[in-house]
């Protein structure tokens, strides 16, 4: 498998990339016909953004879809004032990791005290539970912030990639210290690197305290290494108690992060590594740990925990005594490995093109990866310049995740998230509680993982609520998007055009018209038609 990949990569040089680019820029998106240009705009807004807002497909088509994409590829040049203003309402963005750690400890104490209250059956003193509730609210804010950014940001492609990398480098919010470490993982590790070089992003995640804790690398120490126990920690303790303190110190190698680094973050499960490679990667990364909370909980390299012996990974020799540098060397090597290029290119194509992406776009992405040394911007550009991205087979080929469904519905109806935290809760109820995927695989990408009977019914209910103005967390002015029409048929045409971008099937049209038959009140008709359109099968696809 690896041999064929390398072979393929060798045959594609820079000239080939150029040829592919020249061949592909011209066709579908720049077609002269308005319909084709609009269809391409819809495809771009569905995959490179969180779904079109009212009228947006026409605007993108008029400006030229490739122009819009280039614009989106330089998010730093796109003003995002409305979102910036909105972000100011989020307390979580003003708290640093020490603040959060303090609150975490307070919340824990609070909870423990509450348990004591329960067991002694006394009345809980006033204020009990407030610290825990405050921490829960901050957690909910973190989730809501992700939804609000996806809905409101003008830097749509950037927010799509933030979501992609957040998921690729998944951290489980509810695992112990990650309750206070995760926000910085998003703000300082993922977001600054989402459209940069993969290598920088990979190194940032390897140093991310949230990741070091989540995948236990902070506990991984060279076998036989013992931490220096500060005398004050054991002063006045009995020998037995000293034993217990020593026993609680981390001991031995933990392979958890090393395995996921190779299997999920870089090479991929078929990336050609062995169990020995995993052990050696774990040895190289011993010592990569975290400062205590209260002292910044920042990344720290612990010399005492580091394995100073020689290691060999994928045939590469790492000579003894290189300390933290060998970890950086390893991560660079992994970021540039052909298996990584292929694994990541395919995963990006699965997100942007199709669950089972055609070879053409994957090959183009790999070639761009190689030529640009893993510049995510160049890789995305290469993908959207392949015919695969624009092919009829790729249109509406993907089922929306719950987050994509909620965000695109809010955007399509021109709704504005209110100051409550309920939109994120809705995403959770639909099956994707943000940052709460416990498995390091992150959320799945394929339709089979999102489509089940209960989930679809929940989406229908959410659609009906949104259409009736009852969606918790977002207020929509549907009349502004869908003004009254002379008759139901015209009105359904409008729904098709504005909400479904023309994808409404004859069957859906007939069903909606049939439902509207006896409805005379225009507001009621609007609610019914919008509920059925957004809860119906066309809107589940993108």
């Amino acid at each position: 498998m690896r041999a064929t990949m390398v072979g393929r990569a060798v045959s594609t040089g820079a000239a080939a990339i150029l040829a592919v680019a020249l061949r592909c820029v011209a066709p579908a998106p720049l077609g002269a016909q308005g319909g084709a240009a609009r269809d391409s705009a819809v495809q771009a807004l569905n995959r490179l953004a969180w779904g079109p807002r009212p009228g947006e497909a026409d605007r993108v088509a008029a400006a030229g879809v490739m122009v819009w994409i280039e614009h989106q590829l330089s998010p730093e040049r796109i003003p995002d004032d409305a979102l910036r203003a909105r972000e100011r309402a989020f307390t979580i963005l003003r708290l640093d990791v020490d603040d959060l750690a303090r609150r975490f400890v307070a919340a824990r104490r609070d909870q423990q005290a509450r348990r004591r209250d329960d067991t002694t059956a006394t009345e809980a003193p006033p204020g009990r539970g407030t610290e825990a509730a405050a921490l829960r609210r901050l957690g909910a804010e973190t989730q809501q912030l992700a939804v609000v950014r996806a809905v409101l940001s003008e830097r749509q492609l950037y927010e799509v990639l933030v979501d992609f990398w957040t998921n690729h480098f998944n951290v489980f919010y509810a695992k112990g210290a990650d309750r206070y470490l995760l926000p910085a993982h998003i703000e300082e590790t993922i977001r600054p690197n989402a459209l940069g070089r993969f290598e920088d992003l990979l190194i940032a995640t390897a140093r991310s305290p949230a990741m070091l804790f989540y995948l236990d690398n902070a506990q991984s120490v060279a076998s036989g290494a013992r931490p220096p126990i500060p005398p004050r920690a054991v002063r006045g303790l009995t020998a037995e108690q000293r034993d217990m303190v020593a026993q609680r110190m981390p001991r031995g190698l933990n392979e958890n992060y090393a395995r996921e680094l190779l299997e999920l973050h870089t090479l991929g499960v078929d990336g050609g590594y062995t169990q020995d490679d995993i052990v050696n990667v774990a040895r190289i990364l011993t010592g990569w740990g975290i400062e205590r909370p209260g002292q910044g909980a920042a990344f720290a390299f612990r010399e005492w925990a580091h394995d100073r012996g020689e290691k060999v990974v994928l045939g590469e020799r790492f000579p003894p005594g290189q300390g933290m540098d060998e970890g950086i060397r390893l991560l660079r090597m992994l970021a540039r490995h052909p298996a990584t290029m292929h694994h990541l290119s395919r995963k990006l194509c699965a997100r942007l093109v199709a669950d089972e992406p055609p070879d053409g776009c994957v090959d183009a992405a790999v070639a761009a990866w190689r030529a640009s040394d893993g510049d995510v911007r160049a890789v995305v550009r290469a993908i959207v310049r392949t015919p695969d991205f624009w092919a009829p087979a790729a249109r509406r080929a993907k089922v929306k995740s719950p987050l994509e469904f909620v965000v695109s519905a809010v955007r399509a109806t021109g709704a504005v998230p209110d100051s409550s935290l309920r939109l994120a809760r809705l995403v959770g109820r639909l099956g994707q509680p943000l940052y709460l995927q416990s498995a390091p695989t992150g959320w799945p990408e394929a339709q089979a993982d999102w489509v089940n009977a209960g989930a679809l019914l929940a989406r229908m209910n959410a659609a009906v609520a949104l259409a009736a103005g009852r969606l918790p967390g977002a207020a929509a002015d549907l009349e502004a998007v869908l003004p009254n029409a002379v008759d139901h048929a015209r009105f359904v045409d409008l729904v098709n055009e504005r909400l479904l971008a023309g994808s409404m099937t004859d069957r859906t049209r007939a069903v909606i018209l049939d439902q509207l038959r006896d409805v005379t009140d225009p507001a009621q008709a609007r609610a019914l038609a919008v509920g059925l359109a957004i809860g119906g099968p066309e809107f589940q696809r993108q």
Binding site: D216, D355, D449, N452, Q515, L532
Partner: protein, 412 residues
């Protein structure tokens, strides 16, 4: 395999869809021998229950030595066999033990050494300890591999807002948070029926992929539920479920079983077992949780009555807790725990599994109760001998199915 997948994809179909369509194509139909289906009910005690105080080794002096503040006093333990006894708050289960319908498997757990809740829960639900990349659950793989079952949306149902990993995968499974609210939430019945019919018509028209068959499963479920009228359910024989989530879940399981809609595997969570602080002995926080568990299980057993002859309830938990109490009069994350198996088919009245003892030399990593029964052997026994699984290989890949290792909860 790979090329086949790509070929199908170009037609807008993928192999998984084809597998799903087989289930989804069949609408609701009365299940002739519904009452004869064997049923497995799984309760997950999330947070790691202290098996040593749930089923107390009161004959082992080490238990009392290591837990000066939180041991359940020997005088209060409900003795089972002279060595083990139930926590006093599990008294409602004693009649089941006496009737031979309750078995305990002790020192059961995972071969993986993790003490992380989330890793250990994942491993117990995927059935592949140590392998994190497994996306689907063992119960779902069982449903996929054993297709000799009536097509029904209710074959595998989790009671809660989300589908647990245990039931996730390519075979259809439902997550039902509230049986009465399952379906479209429109207050007026006539309007609700009209809207339901409209959505059903919309999704029948979805040509490719999983949308149409999945929606069909949902609408079939709604239709079947309508006939059972969950709003009017009254437990039989004066059974009283305790207030709270567990009681509500088990009541709904009983409803679905009695509705005869083809349930085979039910799942519910029971939380609150992570007793790091002030765990208590015969009274206290653990006792309160066990009280609810005992009463809920007894109510379920009473409510189902005769129907229990073909129903097995299994409790599971990701790991056990330390033998020695900690500085906060609680217990920390340990290794092996105890699981309860009850129901008509159970050959109970026995504490099964090899008891490794609490001697420090016999403990796992010198501190925790060692695992002598791999949880897959207990789950596997129930799948084979109760549900009739033809082959455990796809269900627990990497674990050779060997009936000699089954703990024997259903007899040999």
């Amino acid at each position: 395999m790979k090329s086949g997948g790509i070929g199908l994809f170009s037609l807008g179909l993928d192999p998984l869809f084809l597998a799903r369509a087989v289930y989804g194509a069949v609408g609701p139909r009365p299940l002739a021998a519904a009452s004869e289906h064997p049923i497995l009910v799984c309760l997950f005690q999330r947070g790691a229950v202290d098996g040593l105080s749930m089923v107390v080794p009161h004959g082992d002096a080490t238990y009392y030595r290591e837990r000066p503040r939180i041991a359940v006093p020997r005088s209060e333990v409900i003795d089972l066999d002279g060595h083990f006894g139930l926590h006093p708050r599990l008294a409602p289960l004693k009649p089941l033990w006496d009737a031979g319908a309750l078995a305990v498997v002790h020192a059961v757990g995972s071969p993986d050494s993790t003490r992380s809740h989330f890793d250990a829960q994942d491993y117990m639900e995927t059935g592949t300890p140590g392998v994190k990349a497994t996306a689907d659950g063992w119960a779902n793989r069982y449903c996929t591999s054993a297709r000799e079952h009536d097509a029904t949306p209710f074959r595998a149902v989790a009671f809660g807002p989300q589908l647990p990993r245990l039931l996730a995968g390519s075979a259809p499974s439902l997550a039902i948070d509230d049986l009465q609210a399952f379906g479209l939430q429109v207050r007026q019945p006539a309007a609700r029926d009209k809207l339901t019919a409209a959505f059903e018509a919309l999704y029948e028209g979805a040509a490719t992929g999983l949308l149409a068959p999945s929606a069909a499963e949902g609408f079939a479920a709604i239709e079947m539920l309508k006939r059972t009228d969950p709003a009017r359910y009254a437990p039989a024989d004066g059974a009283e479920y305790p207030a709270g989530r567990l009681g509500r879940s088990l009541l709904q399981v009983a409803q679905i079983i009695k509705a005869g809609v083809g349930l085979e595997i039910a799942f519910a969570d029971v939380t609150g077992w992570d007793t790091h602080v002030n765990q208590g002995g015969s009274q206290g926080s653990l006792a309160a949780r066990l009280d609810e568990l005992g009463r809920a299980l007894a109510a379920f057993n009473r409510d189902l009555g005769e129907r229990m002859r073909n129903v097995v309830v299994l409790t599971m938990s990701e790991f056990g807790r330390t033998v020695r109490e900690n500085g906060n009069a609680g217990t920390d994350h340990g290794h092996a725990t105890a699981m309860l198996v009850l129901g008509g088919p159970v050959r109970g009245g026995k504490v099964l599994g090899r008891w490794p003892g609490l001697d420090p030399a016999a403990r796992f990593e010198g501190r925790d109760l060692a695992v002598t029964t791999d949880f897959r052997d207990l789950f596997g026994e129930l799948l084979v001998r109760h549900l009739g699984a033809p082959d455990l290989r796809p269900v627990f890949p990497g674990r050779e199915a060997d009936p000699a290792r089954f703990p024997g909860v259903l007899g040999a």
